[in-house]
């Protein structure tokens, strides 16, 4: 029997992995993957809560909204990574450090 708690554990694990990935990865594309994990952990929460806890569909619709926004976000992010690659010939975030001084 799969209960709400199982879903919440999976999503908490995904969220933590996402934060861990964002903090440790140096490759910009890997960091973006970490961000996707964070967004999807919230999606799992929303759908699970909507299914088990409440009578309305709000959570599932919110999840679809999040998926659309995530796609738009990745489009912008990859465009920026691409222009950075054209300028630096690398997507390593450690080398994008001109602003730090």
């Amino acid at each position: 029997m799969i209960t709400l708690q199982h879903y919440l554990l999976v999503s908490a694990a995904l969220f933590s992995l996402g934060i861990f990935g964002v903090l440790t990865r140096k490759n910009a594309v890997n960091v973006l993957m970490g961000i996707e994990l964070i967004l999807n952990s919230a999606n799992i929460n929303l759908v699970a809560f909507s299914h088990y806890n409440s009578a309305n569909m709000d959570g599932q619709i919110f999840a679809i909204v999040v998926i659309v926004v995530a796609a738009a976000e990745v489009a912008v992010a990859l465009a920026l990574v691409l222009t950075l690659y054209r300028l630096l010939k690398t997507v390593n975030l450690d080398q994008a450090d001109m602003l730090k001084r």
């Binding site: 964070i38 300028l87 602003l99």
Partner: protein, 496 residues
């Protein structure tokens, strides 16, 4: 009271105007190649004026638009006007900037129109899904605006940094939203409040709610550039084209405070729309007080050592977010008014300071404070203008910044939190030092005697005058501002 979709449209005319204007500017930009240099900015300005006029006309409906997605109250009216005004001034400020003019400019105006509409929606949303959607609309467009100089490495790095910090903090906020949905079973702010008030928050729920508030503050803190979510701020402000930096430092910050107030006042406290009290089981005021103390102290101390004026203004804008946060944290009618006054006067002083940065960059290609030496000889007018903007930022009477500080500190003392007011005034004293240092460099330091007098283009000159006037004169209209703000500090409070 909730309004159906079609009836709601007439209360959203300003936002609709902005979205239509964005599409028109795209079309003009690709179809009328010879005229676009003139048509793009003039159409943009015209549509912003139209949107401003419509928002004056629209009036508050005092009901939830689009089945309770958006609020249309006098608070919403205030933010509409404020954000449209800020965008209008930024468009004029971007016309004569050497950073932006080599790049083709059509998209810039389109992005600015879209982000303005997004900010208005964001400050007015009363549903978590709408809130997230509009917040991301603002974020995504501002990422592109920061990275607008495609061939410039700094601009690019700034945009990528902004995006990564932004995506993580809004992701954390979204996770908080999902938990909030799980606790209450609804996405509507008023229904969330009703659920908490009727069930009561106790035991384990208290800790969950505390965690939720911290996660959500990551998103709002990112938008308002509050510590500890401020790391992006100096880098992004330094790397972005100066008009974009000026825009980011006032408009999204104001919208961020708008939604912060709406979320905490309507969603997480008991109240009627003009009077609020803390909800049992969650003391968010203490969290915001802590954030505000950290924000102003760190912002001011970091600003002391900056040599790049854009970075210094970035830290100073973090510190100002701290002062404004004090007004939110006290949770009172007076506090709410103080936030509105502060945001209003902040638009003129900060845009003014950044405009001076743009003007000096246009002729000298530098952002270093040391290079400003001898400015009083090269352009007395610019020196006087910058001094007034900086004195206003310090909060010295009779300049308008004084009004903001007066209201905020007044609200804190009114609530009896004397120690917070003391910390705030100590911070204002630290801030005076680094603002005065810039003035000292411009007025007293000799600099290179061979540098020619500084030229100011007519557009920038007139905008400087337009921005100076409110800084000098607003204190004289104290009564009208007080009345306007008192009328605006009324939140829509009904539930479904």
């Amino acid at each position: 009271m909730v309004m159906a979709n079609l009836q709601s449209l007439r209360y959203c005319l300003p936002e609709l105007t902005l979205f239509v204007a964005a599409m028109v500017v795209v079309l003009v930009d690709i179809s009328l190649k010879s005229l676009r240099r003139i048509l793009n900015p003039s159409l943009t300005l015209l549509c912003l004026v139209l949107a401003g006029y419509l928002s004056l006309r629209a009036g508050a409906a005092d009901s939830g638009l689009f089945q309770g997605m958006l609020a249309s109250d006098s608070f919403a009216q205030f933010f509409r006007l404020l954000l449209i005004l800020a965008s209008f001034l930024v468009v004029i400020g971007s016309l004569d900037s050497d950073e932006l003019s080599p790049v083709h400019s059509g998209e810039f105006f389109v992005l600015l129109l879209v982000v303005t509409a997004g900010m208005i929606l964001m400050a007015n949303s009363t549903n978590l899904a709408m809130l997230y959607l509009s917040l991301e609309l603002v974020s995504l467009t501002s990422y592109i605006m920061v990275g607008y100089l495609r061939t410039d490495r700094l601009s690019n790095e700034a945009a990528l940094k902004y995006l990564l910090y932004g995506a993580v903090s809004t992701g954390a906020m979204l996770y908080g939203f999902s938990l909030l949905y799980g606790m209450t079973g609804t996405l509507n702010l008023y229904a969330i409040r009703d659920a908490f008030v009727s069930q009561g928050v106790d035991g384990f729920n208290q800790y969950t709610l505390l965690l939720v508030v911290l996660l959500i503050m990551a998103g709002f803190g990112f938008k308002t550039a509050a510590v500890p979510f401020h790391f992006w701020c100096p880098d992004v402000y330094a790397g972005a084209p100066t008009p974009v930096t000026a825009f980011l430092s006032v408009a999204p910050k104001a919208a961020g405070f708008g939604i912060l107030i709406r979320f905490f006042f309507s969603g997480l406290s008991q109240g009627t729309g003009t009077q609020w009290s803390m909800m049992h089981g969650l003391n968010w005021s203490a969290i915001l007080v802590g954030i505000s103390v950290l924000t102003m102290t760190l912002g001011n101390i970091a600003a002391l050592t900056q040599n790049n004026l854009k970075r210094m203004l970035a830290y100073s804008s973090i510190a100002h977010a701290g002062y404004i946060m004090m007004g939110v944290a006290v949770l009172s009618q007076v506090g709410l008014r103080s936030v509105l006054v502060y945001l209003f006067v902040y638009v003129f002083m900060n845009l003014g300071a950044f405009l001076v940065v743009t003007v000096i960059y246009n002729s000298d290609k530098t952002f270093e404070i040391d290079d400003y030496a001898g400015m009083s000889r090269r352009s007395p007018f610019l020196t006087v203008a910058m001094s007034i903007f900086l004195l206003s930022l310090i909060g010295i009477p009779p300049f308008s910044g004084f009004l903001g500080k007066l209201y905020v500190f007044g609200a804190v003392i009114d609530q009896g939190i004397i120690w917070l007011a003391v910390v705030g005034s100590l911070n204002a004293a630290i801030a005076a030092y680094y603002y005065m240092k810039v003035m000292k460099t411009m007025i007293l330091d000799e600099g290179d005697k061979n540098l020619p007098p500084l030229k100011i283009s007519p557009v920038n000159m007139s905008l400087l005058v337009v921005l100076l006037l409110p800084n000098v004169l607003l204190v004289g209209f104290w009564n009208s501002i007080d009345r306007w703000v008192a009328a605006s500090a009324r939140l829509f409070s009904h539930s479904l």
